[in-house]
Symmetry: C2
Subunit: 302 residues, 2 copies
C-alpha cells in the first residue's frame, strides 16, 4: 500500500492570518490531540518577533510542549539567523528556514534580498554544524509558482535557488505555492525538474487552495512521486506579507483525498473530523475553507 506523510502546518501557517490570539493551552491541546491521532510531523510555531506576528508570542513554550511528545517530529519556522539561534538554544529537532523565489516577496516577508537570505542560510547551516546536538535544517521556498506582488515566477528562478540551497547542504526542501497561483501543468513541469535536480533530498509540497486548484495540484505532485505534503487543519493559513494570500489545503480534505484513494495516511478521518470540530469552535468568525467538514464523510466510507 502506498503511503504519504501529511505534515500539519496549522499551528504555524494556519495561525498567521488569524487575528484572534489562540491561547497557549489551546495550542498545546491542538498539538497533543493531533499527535494522538497519529500525525507524525507538525510544524508547531514560528520564531518571528512578537511585534510582527503577535500570534506566536508563545513560540518557545509551544516548542517545548511539542518536544515532550514522543514519536512526534516537530519543526519550527525561522525567518533569519536570530530566530534560528533561539530555535538552536531550545534544541529544536527541525528548523525550517524560508526564502522566496520572488525578490519582492522575500523583501516583503523577511526584509532582505534573496542573496542576503542565501548568505544567512549558509551561516545557519555552518552554525548548526558547530553544535554538539545538531538540528535538521529545511528550507521552504515561498512563491515558487508565482507572486502576488510581482506576478509570474519562472521555474528557472526556483531551480537556481534550489541549486544554491543544495550546495549549502540542507536536509529537506519545501516547495511552497504561498499565494495559490499554481496550476497542475506548472506543478508537473517544475516538480519533474526538481526531482531530477535534488536526488535523494526530501521534497515537501506545500499548496494553498486560494484559487480552487489545491487538491488538483496535490494529486499532480503525488502522481510524479512526491509523498510529503503540508496542510493546515480547517484550511486556515496564508502569509501576512503576500497580498491576497489565503488558506492552505485543508488537512481534513487532503486526508479525505488520500484515504478515498486507498493511499495510507495513517489517519482516521472520523477522528480527525472530531478534532476539526473541537478546534473549529475557536475560529467561528474566521473563514474556514475546508470542504469535507461541512459536507460530511460519504455514507459507508471506510
Amino acid at each position: 500500500m502506498e503511503e504519504v506523510l501529511i505534515r500539519e502546518v496549522g499551528l504555524r501557517d494556519g495561525l498567521q492570518l488569524v487575528k484572534k490570539i489562540l491561547p497557549t493551552e489551546k495550542k498545546i491541546e491542538w498539538l497533543n490531540m493531533q499527535a494522538f491521532l497519529n500525525f507524525k510531523e507538525i510544524e508547531v510555531t514560528s520564531f518571528v518577533p512578537e511585534k510582527i506576528v503577535p500570534q506566536f508570542f508563545d513560540s518557545e513554550e509551544i516548542l517545548q510542549a511539542a518536544k515532550s511528545i514522543s514519536g512526534l517530529t516537530s519543526s519550527v519556522l525561522v525567518p533569519n539567523f536570530f530566530g534560528a539561534k533561539k530555535a538552536f538554544e531550545l534544541q529544536a529537532e527541525k528548523i525550517n528556514c524560508v526564502i522566496s523565489a520572488s525578490e519582492s516577496h522575500n523583501k516583503a516577508n523577511i526584509n532582505k534580498d534573496i542573496k542576503s537570505s542565501i548568505t544567512e542560510l549558509s551561516e545557519i547551516v555552518s552554525y548548526n554544524k558547530s553544535l554538539e546536538n545538531r538540528s535538521k535544517i529545511g528550507v521552504a521556498i515561498s512563491t515558487s509558482f508565482g507572486c502576488s506582488i510581482e506576478g509570474e515566477v519562472s521555474n528557472q528562478k526556483v531551480l537556481h535557488l534550489v541549486e544554491k540551497i543544495i550546495e549549502i547542504g540542507v536536509d529537506e526542501i519545501t516547495i511552497a505555492d504561498t499565494v495559490g497561483y499554481a496550476n497542475p501543468k506548472q506543478v508537473k513541469i517544475l516538480f519533474n525538474s526538481l526531482i531530477r535536480l535534488v536526488g535523494n533530498l526530501d521534497i515537501f509540497a506545500h499548496f494553498h487552495d486560494t484559487r480552487g486548484l489545491g487538491m488538483a495540484n496535490v494529486l499532480t505532485a503525488f502522481d510524479l512521486g512526491i509523498r510529503k505534503f503540508d496542510s493546515s487543519l480547517l484550511g486556515l493559513g496564508g502569509c501576512p506579507f503576500a497580498p491576497g494570500a489565503s488558506g492552505n489545503v485543508a488537512t481534513e480534505d487532503i486526508i479525505y483525498l488520500f484515504n478515498s484513494m486507498k493511499i495510507s495516511t495513517g489517519i482516521d478521518l472520523k477522528d480527525l473530523i472530531i478534532l476539526c470540530k473541537n478546534i473549529g469552535k475557536f475560529f467561528k468568525s474566521e473563514a474556514l475553507s475546508g470542504k469535507i467538514l461541512s459536507a460530511g464523510i460519504p455514507k459507508n466510507f471506510n
Copy 2:
C-alpha cells in the same frame, strides 16, 4: 492547442437548490450574456412539474429564448416521457434524460425503479425517431460514483446501465457525481472502462465539488481524454432529492483551471468574472462555492 467544451448547467442544476425564484428576464439575461461570452452549449432548464421544482416555472419560455440564440447548443433536462414530450413539442435541440445508477436515488429523484426508467428512455428514443425534426437525446447517469442514500455504487452498475443505454441508442452520455462522492482513483478506473465501452459516443463528465475533490476529478478525467465537462456558474447546484447534495464545480474555476494550463476553453476569464459578479448579486444569501471569484485572477495572468 488542446480544447475542451465547458457546458454551463447553472440555469438547470445550478438553480435546483436555489430557494429564491430567479425572474424569467434575469434567466434570459444570464443565458444571453453567457452565450455572448462564447459558451457553445448551455443546459438551459428542466421540464419538471412546477409543483416539484418551482424554480423551473418558466421552462418553455427559457427554452424558446435559448433557441433564438444563434450558434448556441441548448439542452433541457427531462425526468420522464411527459417532460420529453413537452420538449419535443418545442423542438428542443437536445434533450437530456436522467437515470440514476443507484436504485434508491432513482426512486427519490424520479419516482421509478431503474428498469422502468430504461423502458421509458427506450420509448423517448422511439418517439424521437418517429418525428420529422428530431432532437438529440442524451442521458445523464446520476450517482455514478456513490449515493448519499445507499452509499457505494459499483462501477459494474454504471457500466451495465451504460450498456443498456447504448443498446437503446442515444447521442451522448453524461457521467454525473451527483453527491460529490467521486475521488480521482475511482474516476480513473470508471472512465477507463467507459471509454473502452462507448466507442465514439460523446461522454460529458459532471462533477460536484461537495467534498473538495471536484477539480482533481476534472483533471483526472481530462488526463484520460475526456474533453467535455459540465459546470455551474458560481458553483451553484445540487439535487433536491439527494441528501447533502451541493454545488457543481464552478464554471469560473474550471475555466481558470484549463486557461491556466493553456488548454483552450474559448472563454476569457476576466469577462466571465464580470458576468459572475453580475449574476452573483442575485444570490447574496445563498452559499456560493467557487474560489477564483473571491480570490481574484493572478497578477499578469493571460
